[in-house]
Protein backbone atom coordinates (compact mmCIF):
# COMPACT_ATOMS: atom_id res chain seq x y z
CA UNK A 1 0.00 0.00 0.00
CA UNK A 2 1.60 3.24 -1.04
CA UNK A 3 0.43 6.70 -0.27
CA UNK A 4 0.90 7.93 -3.82
CA UNK A 5 -2.15 10.15 -4.09
CA UNK A 6 -2.24 11.72 -0.66
CA UNK A 7 1.46 12.31 -0.15
CA UNK A 8 2.74 15.82 0.28
CA UNK A 9 5.31 16.38 -2.44
CA UNK A 10 8.81 17.58 -1.64
CA UNK A 11 10.43 20.13 -3.94
CA UNK A 12 13.04 17.79 -5.36
CA UNK A 13 10.38 15.19 -6.13
CA UNK A 14 8.39 17.51 -8.38
CA UNK A 15 9.71 16.09 -11.67
CA UNK A 16 8.22 12.69 -10.71
CA UNK A 17 4.84 14.17 -10.11
CA UNK A 18 4.98 16.18 -13.33
CA UNK A 19 5.36 12.92 -15.21
CA UNK A 20 2.56 11.41 -13.16
CA UNK A 21 0.31 14.29 -14.09
CA UNK A 22 1.17 13.61 -17.73
CA UNK A 23 0.19 9.97 -17.24
CA UNK A 24 -3.13 11.01 -15.77
CA UNK A 25 -3.71 13.35 -18.69
CA UNK A 26 -2.95 10.59 -21.12
CA UNK A 27 -5.36 8.28 -19.34
CA UNK A 28 -8.08 10.89 -19.54
CA UNK A 29 -7.39 11.50 -23.21
CA UNK A 30 -7.48 7.78 -23.78
CA UNK A 31 -10.94 7.61 -22.22
CA UNK A 32 -12.19 10.74 -23.99
CA UNK A 33 -10.93 9.83 -27.46
CA UNK A 34 -11.18 6.06 -27.20
CA UNK A 35 -7.62 5.70 -28.43
CA UNK A 36 -5.53 3.14 -26.58
CA UNK A 37 -2.42 4.65 -24.96
CA UNK A 38 -1.84 1.75 -22.59
CA UNK A 39 1.62 0.91 -23.84
CA UNK A 40 2.72 4.55 -23.61
CA UNK A 41 1.27 4.84 -20.14
CA UNK A 42 2.99 1.68 -19.03
CA UNK A 43 6.28 2.92 -20.43
CA UNK A 44 5.93 6.24 -18.63
CA UNK A 45 5.05 4.50 -15.40
CA UNK A 46 8.13 2.32 -15.69
CA UNK A 47 10.18 5.44 -16.29
CA UNK A 48 8.71 7.17 -13.24
CA UNK A 49 9.48 4.17 -11.09
CA UNK A 50 13.05 3.99 -12.36
CA UNK A 51 13.50 7.72 -11.92
CA UNK A 52 12.16 7.64 -8.38
CA UNK A 53 14.50 4.82 -7.53
CA UNK A 54 17.48 6.64 -8.97
CA UNK A 55 16.51 9.86 -7.24
CA UNK A 56 16.23 8.14 -3.89
CA UNK A 57 19.52 6.36 -4.32
CA UNK A 58 21.40 9.60 -4.82
CA UNK A 59 19.87 11.94 -2.28
CA UNK A 60 21.81 14.93 -1.01
CA UNK A 61 21.97 15.29 2.77
CA UNK A 62 19.68 18.31 2.54
CA UNK A 63 17.09 16.29 0.64
CA UNK A 64 17.27 13.55 3.25
CA UNK A 65 16.69 16.21 5.87
CA UNK A 66 13.43 17.11 4.16
CA UNK A 67 12.35 13.49 4.02
CA UNK A 68 13.20 13.05 7.70
CA UNK A 69 10.97 16.03 8.45
CA UNK A 70 8.17 15.04 6.12
CA UNK A 71 4.86 15.84 7.85
CA UNK A 72 3.50 12.41 6.93
CA UNK A 73 6.52 10.48 8.09
CA UNK A 74 5.37 7.51 10.18
CA UNK A 75 5.28 8.41 13.85
CA UNK A 76 5.41 6.41 17.07
CA UNK A 77 1.74 5.45 16.83
CA UNK A 78 2.20 4.15 13.29
CA UNK A 79 5.10 1.95 14.33
CA UNK A 80 3.15 0.66 17.31
CA UNK A 81 0.20 -0.18 15.07
CA UNK A 82 2.30 -1.85 12.39
CA UNK A 83 4.83 -3.64 14.58
CA UNK A 84 3.13 -4.66 17.82
CA UNK A 85 0.57 -7.36 18.53
CA UNK A 86 0.04 -5.76 21.92
CA UNK A 87 0.76 -2.36 23.36
CA UNK A 88 -0.37 -0.93 26.67
CA UNK A 89 0.62 2.67 27.18
CA UNK A 90 1.87 3.91 30.56
CA UNK A 91 1.33 7.56 31.41
CA UNK A 92 2.91 10.14 33.62
CA UNK A 93 6.09 10.98 35.50
CA UNK A 94 4.36 10.34 38.88
CA UNK A 95 5.28 13.86 39.94
CA UNK A 96 2.50 15.93 38.49
CA UNK A 97 2.78 15.75 34.72
CA UNK A 98 2.21 13.56 31.69
CA UNK A 99 4.26 14.77 28.74
CA UNK A 100 2.54 13.79 25.51
CA UNK A 101 5.73 14.32 23.48
CA UNK A 102 7.08 11.06 24.86
CA UNK A 103 4.97 7.95 24.80
CA UNK A 104 5.78 4.52 26.11
CA UNK A 105 4.46 1.26 27.35
CA UNK A 106 4.77 -2.47 27.42
CA UNK A 107 4.54 -4.16 24.04
CA UNK A 108 4.82 -7.41 22.22
CA UNK A 109 6.70 -7.46 18.93
CA UNK A 110 6.47 -10.84 17.25
CA UNK A 111 6.31 -12.53 20.62
CA UNK A 112 9.12 -10.46 22.15
CA UNK A 113 7.90 -8.65 25.25
CA UNK A 114 9.58 -5.27 25.40
CA UNK A 115 9.31 -1.77 26.81
CA UNK A 116 8.68 0.48 23.84
CA UNK A 117 9.31 4.20 24.30
CA UNK A 118 9.43 6.98 21.76
CA UNK A 119 9.00 10.62 21.01
CA UNK A 120 5.65 11.49 19.54
CA UNK A 121 5.07 13.78 16.60
CA UNK A 122 1.71 14.73 15.15
CA UNK A 123 0.66 14.82 11.53
CA UNK A 124 -1.94 17.55 11.82
CA UNK A 125 -1.70 20.95 13.50
CA UNK A 126 -4.04 19.79 16.22
CA UNK A 127 -1.94 16.71 16.93
CA UNK A 128 1.25 18.71 16.77
CA UNK A 129 -0.03 21.13 19.37
CA UNK A 130 -0.99 18.21 21.56
CA UNK A 131 2.44 16.59 21.21
CA UNK A 132 4.29 19.92 21.31
CA UNK A 133 5.76 19.20 17.85
CA UNK A 134 7.61 16.24 19.30
CA UNK A 135 9.70 18.38 21.65
CA UNK A 136 9.69 16.76 25.11
CA UNK A 137 9.54 18.57 28.42
CA UNK A 138 11.78 17.44 31.29
CA UNK A 139 8.84 15.47 32.67
CA UNK A 140 8.80 13.45 29.44
CA UNK A 141 12.38 12.32 30.04
CA UNK A 142 11.46 11.49 33.63
CA UNK A 143 8.53 9.41 32.45
CA UNK A 144 10.91 7.60 30.11
CA UNK A 145 13.31 7.01 32.99
CA UNK A 146 10.50 5.55 35.08
CA UNK A 147 9.74 3.15 32.25
CA UNK A 148 13.43 2.27 31.79
CA UNK A 149 13.61 1.34 35.45
CA UNK A 150 10.38 -0.62 35.23
CA UNK A 151 11.80 -2.56 32.29
CA UNK A 152 15.02 -3.20 34.22
CA UNK A 153 13.05 -4.56 37.16
CA UNK A 154 11.00 -6.93 35.03
CA UNK A 155 13.81 -7.93 32.69
CA UNK A 156 12.21 -6.48 29.58
CA UNK A 157 14.43 -5.31 26.72
CA UNK A 158 13.99 -1.63 25.92
CA UNK A 159 13.31 -0.29 22.46
CA UNK A 160 13.27 3.45 21.87
CA UNK A 161 12.15 5.27 18.72
CA UNK A 162 13.53 8.79 18.44
CA UNK A 163 12.15 11.52 16.21
CA UNK A 164 12.58 14.95 17.74
CA UNK A 165 13.98 18.29 16.77
CA UNK A 166 15.17 18.55 20.35
CA UNK A 167 14.10 18.96 23.93
CA UNK A 168 11.68 21.86 24.30
CA UNK A 169 13.40 25.22 24.84
CA UNK A 170 10.79 26.89 27.03
CA UNK A 171 10.69 28.83 30.27
CA UNK A 172 8.75 26.17 32.17
CA UNK A 173 11.04 23.49 30.76
CA UNK A 174 14.07 25.34 32.14
CA UNK A 175 12.37 25.82 35.48
CA UNK A 176 11.65 22.10 35.62
CA UNK A 177 15.36 21.49 34.85
CA UNK A 178 15.49 20.29 31.27
CA UNK A 179 19.26 19.79 31.30
CA UNK A 180 19.20 17.66 34.41
CA UNK A 181 16.34 15.51 33.13
CA UNK A 182 18.39 14.58 30.07
CA UNK A 183 21.65 14.20 31.99
CA UNK A 184 20.06 11.84 34.51
CA UNK A 185 18.74 9.69 31.68
CA UNK A 186 22.21 9.48 30.13
CA UNK A 187 23.64 8.40 33.45
CA UNK A 188 20.86 6.01 34.42
CA UNK A 189 20.66 4.38 30.99
CA UNK A 190 24.29 3.40 31.53
CA UNK A 191 23.20 1.33 34.54
CA UNK A 192 20.40 -0.66 32.89
CA UNK A 193 20.82 -4.41 32.99
CA UNK A 194 18.60 -5.15 30.00
CA UNK A 195 19.31 -4.75 26.27
CA UNK A 196 18.56 -1.26 24.98
CA UNK A 197 18.03 -0.73 21.25
CA UNK A 198 17.51 2.84 20.03
CA UNK A 199 16.37 3.83 16.57
CA UNK A 200 16.55 7.31 15.11
CA UNK A 201 13.42 7.21 12.96
CA UNK A 202 13.35 10.81 11.75
CA UNK A 203 15.02 13.74 13.42
CA UNK A 204 17.65 13.03 16.03
CA UNK A 205 18.51 16.45 17.26
CA UNK A 206 20.87 17.10 20.10
CA UNK A 207 20.58 16.05 23.75
CA UNK A 208 16.84 15.74 23.36
CA UNK A 209 17.41 12.72 21.13
CA UNK A 210 20.37 11.32 23.05
CA UNK A 211 18.26 11.31 26.24
CA UNK A 212 16.54 8.20 24.86
CA UNK A 213 19.48 6.75 22.96
CA UNK A 214 22.23 5.55 25.30
CA UNK A 215 21.73 2.09 23.89
CA UNK A 216 23.63 -1.14 23.24
CA UNK A 217 22.76 -0.71 19.61
CA UNK A 218 21.76 2.43 17.76
CA UNK A 219 19.91 2.06 14.47
CA UNK A 220 19.03 4.87 12.11
CA UNK A 221 16.55 4.84 9.26
CA UNK A 222 18.04 5.47 5.84
CA UNK A 223 16.89 9.08 5.51
CA UNK A 224 16.83 10.03 9.18
CA UNK A 225 19.50 12.27 10.66
CA UNK A 226 21.31 12.57 13.97
CA UNK A 227 23.21 15.67 15.01
CA UNK A 228 24.39 17.80 17.89
CA UNK A 229 22.44 20.83 16.65
CA UNK A 230 19.90 21.43 13.90
CA UNK A 231 21.53 22.60 10.66
CA UNK A 232 19.50 25.82 10.93
CA UNK A 233 20.73 26.46 14.46
CA UNK A 234 24.29 25.70 13.44
CA UNK A 235 24.07 28.02 10.44
CA UNK A 236 22.75 30.88 12.50
CA UNK A 237 25.48 30.51 15.11
CA UNK A 238 28.55 29.73 13.00
CA UNK A 239 27.64 31.45 9.75
CA UNK A 240 25.43 34.04 11.46
CA UNK A 241 23.02 33.32 8.62
CA UNK A 242 20.19 30.79 8.88
CA UNK A 243 20.00 30.55 5.10
CA UNK A 244 23.33 28.67 5.14
CA UNK A 245 21.47 25.66 6.53
CA UNK A 246 22.15 23.62 3.40
CA UNK A 247 25.89 24.15 3.73
CA UNK A 248 25.70 23.39 7.45
CA UNK A 249 23.81 20.18 6.71
CA UNK A 250 26.72 18.95 4.62
CA UNK A 251 29.33 20.11 7.11
CA UNK A 252 27.68 18.45 10.09
CA UNK A 253 27.76 14.96 8.50
CA UNK A 254 24.35 13.94 9.78
CA UNK A 255 23.29 11.10 7.50
CA UNK A 256 23.25 7.43 8.43
CA UNK A 257 26.21 6.56 6.24
CA UNK A 258 28.34 9.35 7.71
CA UNK A 259 27.40 8.37 11.25
CA UNK A 260 28.19 4.74 10.54
CA UNK A 261 31.71 5.78 9.56
CA UNK A 262 32.07 7.87 12.72
CA UNK A 263 30.88 4.93 14.84
CA UNK A 264 27.94 6.89 16.21
CA UNK A 265 25.34 4.47 14.82
CA UNK A 266 25.59 0.72 14.28
CA UNK A 267 23.20 0.04 11.45
CA UNK A 268 21.24 1.86 8.78
CA UNK A 269 17.74 0.49 8.17
CA UNK A 270 16.56 0.65 4.57
CA UNK A 271 13.57 2.83 3.78
CA UNK A 272 11.14 2.09 0.96
CA UNK A 273 11.84 3.89 -2.32
CA UNK A 274 10.12 7.25 -1.92
CA UNK A 275 10.90 7.41 1.82
CA UNK A 276 9.22 5.99 4.92
CA UNK A 277 6.11 8.12 4.39
CA UNK A 278 5.64 6.68 0.92
CA UNK A 279 5.07 3.22 2.30
CA UNK A 280 4.78 3.22 6.10
CA UNK A 281 3.87 -0.45 6.26
CA UNK A 282 6.98 -1.55 4.39
CA UNK A 283 9.04 0.78 6.57
CA UNK A 284 7.62 -0.71 9.75
CA UNK A 285 8.33 -4.22 8.48
CA UNK A 286 11.94 -3.33 7.73
CA UNK A 287 12.34 -1.79 11.16
CA UNK A 288 10.64 -4.68 12.88
CA UNK A 289 12.96 -7.25 11.38
CA UNK A 290 16.00 -5.09 12.21
CA UNK A 291 14.80 -4.78 15.80
CA UNK A 292 14.12 -8.48 16.21
CA UNK A 293 17.52 -9.32 14.76
CA UNK A 294 19.09 -6.87 17.20
CA UNK A 295 17.20 -8.29 20.18
CA UNK A 296 18.46 -11.75 19.30
CA UNK A 297 22.05 -10.49 19.34
CA UNK A 298 21.79 -9.67 23.04
CA UNK A 299 19.94 -12.79 24.08
CA UNK A 300 21.82 -14.72 26.71
CA UNK A 301 23.99 -11.79 27.79
CA UNK A 302 23.99 -11.16 31.54
CA UNK A 303 23.07 -7.79 33.03
CA UNK A 304 26.72 -7.12 33.74
CA UNK A 305 27.75 -7.99 30.21
CA UNK A 306 25.06 -5.71 28.82
CA UNK A 307 26.20 -2.82 31.01
CA UNK A 308 29.83 -3.39 30.07
CA UNK A 309 28.94 -3.62 26.41
CA UNK A 310 27.05 -0.33 26.55
CA UNK A 311 29.74 1.38 28.55
CA UNK A 312 32.55 0.39 26.24
CA UNK A 313 30.50 1.37 23.21
CA UNK A 314 30.13 4.96 24.41
CA UNK A 315 33.57 4.96 26.04
CA UNK A 316 35.14 4.63 22.61
CA UNK A 317 33.25 7.57 21.07
CA UNK A 318 35.24 10.54 19.91
CA UNK A 319 38.24 11.29 17.72
CA UNK A 320 41.38 12.98 19.02
CA UNK A 321 45.13 12.87 18.71
CA UNK A 322 47.44 11.69 21.47
Amino acid sequence: MTNDNKVQILDFEKPIYTIQDKIEELRQTSIDTNINYDSEIEKLEEQTKAYRKELYQNLEPYQKLQIARHPQRPNFTDYVNYMCEDFIEFHGDRHGFDDKAISGGIASIEGHHVMLIGTMKGKTTKENLEYNFGMPQPQGYRKALRLFEHADRFDLPIITLVDTMGAYPGMKAEEANQGEAIAVNLKEMAKLGVPVIATITGEGCSGGALGLAVANKVLILEHAYYTVISPEGCASILWKDASMAKVATNALKITGDDLLKLGVVDEVVKEPVGGAHYNPKEMAENLKSALIKSLDEYKGMTSDELRKHRYSKFRSMGVFAS
Partner: protein, 289 residues
Protein backbone atom coordinates in the same frame (compact mmCIF):
# COMPACT_ATOMS: atom_id res chain seq x y z
CA UNK B 1 12.89 55.70 3.72
CA UNK B 2 9.61 53.91 4.34
CA UNK B 3 8.30 53.43 7.82
CA UNK B 4 9.19 49.72 7.65
CA UNK B 5 12.76 50.59 6.71
CA UNK B 6 12.94 52.96 9.63
CA UNK B 7 11.70 50.28 12.01
CA UNK B 8 14.14 47.74 10.58
CA UNK B 9 17.02 50.16 10.93
CA UNK B 10 16.03 50.95 14.48
CA UNK B 11 15.82 47.25 15.27
CA UNK B 12 19.31 46.61 13.91
CA UNK B 13 20.66 49.52 15.92
CA UNK B 14 18.99 48.24 19.05
CA UNK B 15 20.45 44.79 18.58
CA UNK B 16 23.88 46.29 17.97
CA UNK B 17 23.53 48.43 21.08
CA UNK B 18 22.51 45.40 23.10
CA UNK B 19 25.54 43.45 21.93
CA UNK B 20 27.80 46.37 22.76
CA UNK B 21 26.48 47.25 26.16
CA UNK B 22 28.83 44.78 27.76
CA UNK B 23 32.38 45.62 26.78
CA UNK B 24 35.74 46.60 28.07
CA UNK B 25 36.60 50.19 27.28
CA UNK B 26 39.79 49.88 25.26
CA UNK B 27 40.58 53.58 25.44
CA UNK B 28 41.45 53.22 29.08
CA UNK B 29 44.10 50.75 28.09
CA UNK B 30 45.39 47.69 29.73
CA UNK B 31 45.49 49.01 33.25
CA UNK B 32 41.79 49.45 33.83
CA UNK B 33 38.74 47.25 33.45
CA UNK B 34 35.11 48.25 33.30
CA UNK B 35 32.83 46.22 35.53
CA UNK B 36 30.14 44.59 33.37
CA UNK B 37 27.66 44.92 36.15
CA UNK B 38 28.12 48.27 37.92
CA UNK B 39 30.15 50.03 35.20
CA UNK B 40 32.78 51.24 37.61
CA UNK B 41 36.34 51.58 36.33
CA UNK B 42 38.56 49.19 38.17
CA UNK B 43 42.34 49.11 38.21
CA UNK B 44 43.25 45.69 36.83
CA UNK B 45 45.65 45.01 39.69
CA UNK B 46 42.96 45.62 42.29
CA UNK B 47 40.61 43.36 40.43
CA UNK B 48 43.18 40.57 40.23
CA UNK B 49 44.04 40.94 43.87
CA UNK B 50 40.35 40.57 44.63
CA UNK B 51 40.09 37.19 42.80
CA UNK B 52 38.60 38.96 39.77
CA UNK B 53 35.55 39.96 41.74
CA UNK B 54 34.41 43.58 41.51
CA UNK B 55 35.15 45.26 44.88
CA UNK B 56 32.13 47.54 44.43
CA UNK B 57 29.31 45.22 43.42
CA UNK B 58 30.70 41.72 43.97
CA UNK B 59 30.31 40.85 40.29
CA UNK B 60 32.30 37.68 39.58
CA UNK B 61 34.34 38.06 36.39
CA UNK B 62 34.89 34.88 34.42
CA UNK B 63 38.31 33.40 35.10
CA UNK B 64 40.51 30.98 33.22
CA UNK B 65 41.15 27.36 34.15
CA UNK B 66 44.71 27.96 35.40
CA UNK B 67 43.65 30.85 37.62
CA UNK B 68 40.82 28.74 39.01
CA UNK B 69 43.15 25.87 39.86
CA UNK B 70 45.41 28.28 41.76
CA UNK B 71 42.43 29.29 43.89
CA UNK B 72 41.42 25.72 44.68
CA UNK B 73 44.48 23.47 44.83
CA UNK B 74 47.00 23.67 47.66
CA UNK B 75 50.05 25.43 46.34
CA UNK B 76 52.19 23.28 44.10
CA UNK B 77 49.98 20.20 44.43
CA UNK B 78 48.20 20.26 41.08
CA UNK B 79 49.48 17.64 38.67
CA UNK B 80 48.05 18.00 35.20
CA UNK B 81 47.12 14.74 33.46
CA UNK B 82 46.06 13.60 30.03
CA UNK B 83 47.34 16.77 28.36
CA UNK B 84 48.70 14.48 25.64
CA UNK B 85 45.12 14.17 24.39
CA UNK B 86 44.75 16.96 21.85
CA UNK B 87 42.14 17.90 19.27
CA UNK B 88 42.06 16.98 15.60
CA UNK B 89 39.46 17.65 12.94
CA UNK B 90 37.57 14.43 12.24
CA UNK B 91 34.87 16.02 10.07
CA UNK B 92 37.22 18.46 8.29
CA UNK B 93 34.72 21.06 9.33
CA UNK B 94 34.71 24.45 7.68
CA UNK B 95 32.24 27.22 8.41
CA UNK B 96 33.30 30.81 7.84
CA UNK B 97 36.69 29.52 9.00
CA UNK B 98 38.14 26.06 9.25
CA UNK B 99 37.98 24.22 12.56
CA UNK B 100 41.77 23.87 12.42
CA UNK B 101 42.14 27.63 12.27
CA UNK B 102 39.65 28.13 15.08
CA UNK B 103 41.64 25.68 17.20
CA UNK B 104 44.80 27.72 16.62
CA UNK B 105 43.04 30.99 17.45
CA UNK B 106 41.57 29.49 20.60
CA UNK B 107 45.00 28.25 21.62
CA UNK B 108 46.50 31.70 21.12
CA UNK B 109 43.69 33.31 23.08
CA UNK B 110 43.59 30.93 26.03
CA UNK B 111 47.06 29.42 26.13
CA UNK B 112 45.38 26.00 26.29
CA UNK B 113 45.07 23.25 23.73
CA UNK B 114 41.44 22.49 24.56
CA UNK B 115 38.66 23.69 26.81
CA UNK B 116 39.43 21.67 29.93
CA UNK B 117 42.39 20.98 32.19
CA UNK B 118 42.27 17.88 34.36
CA UNK B 119 44.52 16.48 37.05
CA UNK B 120 45.01 15.63 40.69
CA UNK B 121 45.59 17.98 43.57
CA UNK B 122 45.28 18.40 47.29
CA UNK B 123 42.59 20.58 48.82
CA UNK B 124 43.52 21.42 52.40
CA UNK B 125 45.68 18.34 52.26
CA UNK B 126 42.87 16.06 51.03
CA UNK B 127 43.45 14.24 47.74
CA UNK B 128 41.03 14.94 44.92
CA UNK B 129 40.82 15.00 41.15
CA UNK B 130 39.70 18.18 39.45
CA UNK B 131 38.60 19.11 35.97
CA UNK B 132 38.34 22.79 35.15
CA UNK B 133 36.79 24.14 31.97
CA UNK B 134 37.94 27.34 30.29
CA UNK B 135 35.50 29.48 28.35
CA UNK B 136 38.29 31.22 26.44
CA UNK B 137 38.92 28.09 24.40
CA UNK B 138 36.10 28.09 21.84
CA UNK B 139 33.48 29.10 24.37
CA UNK B 140 34.36 26.16 26.60
CA UNK B 141 32.66 23.91 24.10
CA UNK B 142 32.79 20.15 24.58
CA UNK B 143 34.28 18.11 21.77
CA UNK B 144 36.09 14.78 21.80
CA UNK B 145 39.05 16.09 23.83
CA UNK B 146 36.95 17.62 26.60
CA UNK B 147 34.87 14.45 26.77
CA UNK B 148 37.91 12.19 26.80
CA UNK B 149 39.90 14.15 29.38
CA UNK B 150 36.93 14.35 31.74
CA UNK B 151 36.12 10.67 31.31
CA UNK B 152 39.77 9.72 31.88
CA UNK B 153 40.09 11.76 35.04
CA UNK B 154 36.82 10.36 36.41
CA UNK B 155 38.10 6.87 35.66
CA UNK B 156 41.29 7.78 37.49
CA UNK B 157 39.17 8.88 40.46
CA UNK B 158 37.32 5.56 40.29
CA UNK B 159 40.51 3.55 40.25
CA UNK B 160 42.11 5.50 43.08
CA UNK B 161 38.92 6.04 45.10
CA UNK B 162 39.20 9.82 45.06
CA UNK B 163 36.53 12.48 45.21
CA UNK B 164 36.09 14.47 41.98
CA UNK B 165 35.29 18.11 41.43
CA UNK B 166 34.36 19.50 38.03
CA UNK B 167 34.16 23.22 37.32
CA UNK B 168 32.05 23.90 34.25
CA UNK B 169 32.10 26.94 31.98
CA UNK B 170 30.75 26.15 28.57
CA UNK B 171 28.42 27.24 25.83
CA UNK B 172 27.61 23.59 25.14
CA UNK B 173 28.68 20.90 22.72
CA UNK B 174 31.17 21.75 19.99
CA UNK B 175 29.35 22.00 16.69
CA UNK B 176 32.50 21.42 14.65
CA UNK B 177 32.55 17.81 15.82
CA UNK B 178 28.81 17.32 15.37
CA UNK B 179 27.54 13.92 16.51
CA UNK B 180 30.93 13.09 18.04
CA UNK B 181 30.45 16.00 20.46
CA UNK B 182 26.97 14.79 21.23
CA UNK B 183 28.39 11.39 22.14
CA UNK B 184 30.72 13.01 24.68
CA UNK B 185 27.61 13.80 26.70
CA UNK B 186 26.83 10.09 26.90
CA UNK B 187 30.45 9.14 27.51
CA UNK B 188 30.99 11.52 30.42
CA UNK B 189 27.60 10.68 31.97
CA UNK B 190 28.39 6.96 31.80
CA UNK B 191 31.63 7.69 33.66
CA UNK B 192 29.64 9.49 36.37
CA UNK B 193 27.36 6.45 36.58
CA UNK B 194 30.41 4.38 37.53
CA UNK B 195 31.31 6.84 40.29
CA UNK B 196 27.74 6.51 41.60
CA UNK B 197 28.01 2.75 41.67
CA UNK B 198 31.34 2.94 43.50
CA UNK B 199 29.85 5.49 45.94
CA UNK B 200 32.52 8.06 45.19
CA UNK B 201 31.82 11.73 45.73
CA UNK B 202 31.30 13.76 42.56
CA UNK B 203 30.81 17.51 42.94
CA UNK B 204 30.05 19.91 40.12
CA UNK B 205 30.59 23.65 40.34
CA UNK B 206 28.65 25.47 37.65
CA UNK B 207 30.45 28.67 36.71
CA UNK B 208 29.61 31.49 34.34
CA UNK B 209 28.30 30.37 31.87
CA UNK B 210 27.11 26.76 31.71
CA UNK B 211 24.74 25.79 28.92
CA UNK B 212 23.61 23.14 26.46
CA UNK B 213 25.48 19.87 26.29
CA UNK B 214 27.39 20.40 29.52
CA UNK B 215 24.23 21.25 31.45
CA UNK B 216 22.58 18.20 29.90
CA UNK B 217 25.37 15.82 30.87
CA UNK B 218 28.10 15.76 33.55
CA UNK B 219 27.27 19.29 34.78
CA UNK B 220 23.96 18.60 36.45
CA UNK B 221 24.43 15.08 37.78
CA UNK B 222 26.73 15.94 40.63
CA UNK B 223 26.06 14.41 44.03
CA UNK B 224 26.31 18.02 45.06
CA UNK B 225 25.72 20.82 42.57
CA UNK B 226 27.17 24.20 43.43
CA UNK B 227 26.81 27.38 41.42
CA UNK B 228 29.40 30.11 41.61
CA UNK B 229 27.81 33.43 42.47
CA UNK B 230 26.39 35.26 39.48
CA UNK B 231 26.77 32.34 37.05
CA UNK B 232 24.21 31.96 34.31
CA UNK B 233 23.16 28.37 33.84
CA UNK B 234 20.62 26.73 31.58
CA UNK B 235 19.90 24.19 28.90
CA UNK B 236 18.62 26.35 26.05
CA UNK B 237 19.90 29.88 25.48
CA UNK B 238 17.84 32.86 26.53
CA UNK B 239 17.28 34.14 22.98
CA UNK B 240 16.21 30.74 21.67
CA UNK B 241 13.63 30.51 24.46
CA UNK B 242 12.37 34.02 23.84
CA UNK B 243 11.96 33.27 20.16
CA UNK B 244 10.18 30.01 20.92
CA UNK B 245 7.71 31.21 23.51
CA UNK B 246 7.44 34.75 22.10
CA UNK B 247 7.59 36.49 25.40
CA UNK B 248 10.18 38.33 27.44
CA UNK B 249 11.88 36.34 30.16
CA UNK B 250 12.42 37.67 33.68
CA UNK B 251 15.70 39.55 34.12
CA UNK B 252 17.06 37.02 36.60
CA UNK B 253 16.10 34.03 34.43
CA UNK B 254 18.82 31.33 34.37
CA UNK B 255 20.93 33.01 37.02
CA UNK B 256 22.35 30.96 39.89
CA UNK B 257 19.83 32.65 42.21
CA UNK B 258 16.96 31.66 39.90
CA UNK B 259 18.14 28.06 39.80
CA UNK B 260 18.37 27.96 43.57
CA UNK B 261 14.77 29.15 43.79
CA UNK B 262 13.69 26.31 41.51
CA UNK B 263 15.58 23.65 43.42
CA UNK B 264 18.14 22.89 40.76
CA UNK B 265 21.31 23.52 42.74
CA UNK B 266 22.33 22.87 46.31
CA UNK B 267 23.72 26.32 47.03
CA UNK B 268 25.59 29.33 45.68
CA UNK B 269 29.16 30.01 46.73
CA UNK B 270 31.22 33.16 46.35
CA UNK B 271 34.63 32.71 44.81
CA UNK B 272 36.48 33.67 47.96
CA UNK B 273 34.75 30.88 49.89
CA UNK B 274 34.91 28.20 47.22
CA UNK B 275 37.98 26.32 48.40
CA UNK B 276 36.89 26.32 52.02
CA UNK B 277 33.45 25.03 51.06
CA UNK B 278 34.79 22.25 48.82
CA UNK B 279 37.31 21.24 51.42
CA UNK B 280 34.61 20.96 54.07
CA UNK B 281 32.35 18.94 51.77
CA UNK B 282 35.10 16.44 51.08
CA UNK B 283 35.91 16.26 54.78
CA UNK B 284 32.30 15.71 55.83
CA UNK B 285 31.88 12.93 53.27
CA UNK B 286 34.74 10.88 54.67
CA UNK B 287 33.51 7.82 56.50
CA UNK B 288 32.95 7.94 60.26
CA UNK B 289 35.62 6.04 62.14
Amino acid sequence: MTLTDWFNKRKIQQIAARDNDVHIDDSIGKLWTLCYNCSSQLPKKDLENNLNVCPNCDYHFRIGARERIKLIADEGTFKEMYDNIVPCDPLEFVDTQSYKKRQQQAKDKSGLDDAVIVGTCKIDNQDAVIAVMDFDYMGGSMGSVVGERITKILEYALENKLPSIVFTSSGGARMQESALSLMQMAKTSCAVAKLNEAKLLYITVLCEPTFGGVTASFGTIGDIIIAEKGARIGFAGRRVIEQTIRQKLPADFQTAEYLLKYGQIDFIVERKHMKEKLSKLIFLHTKNK
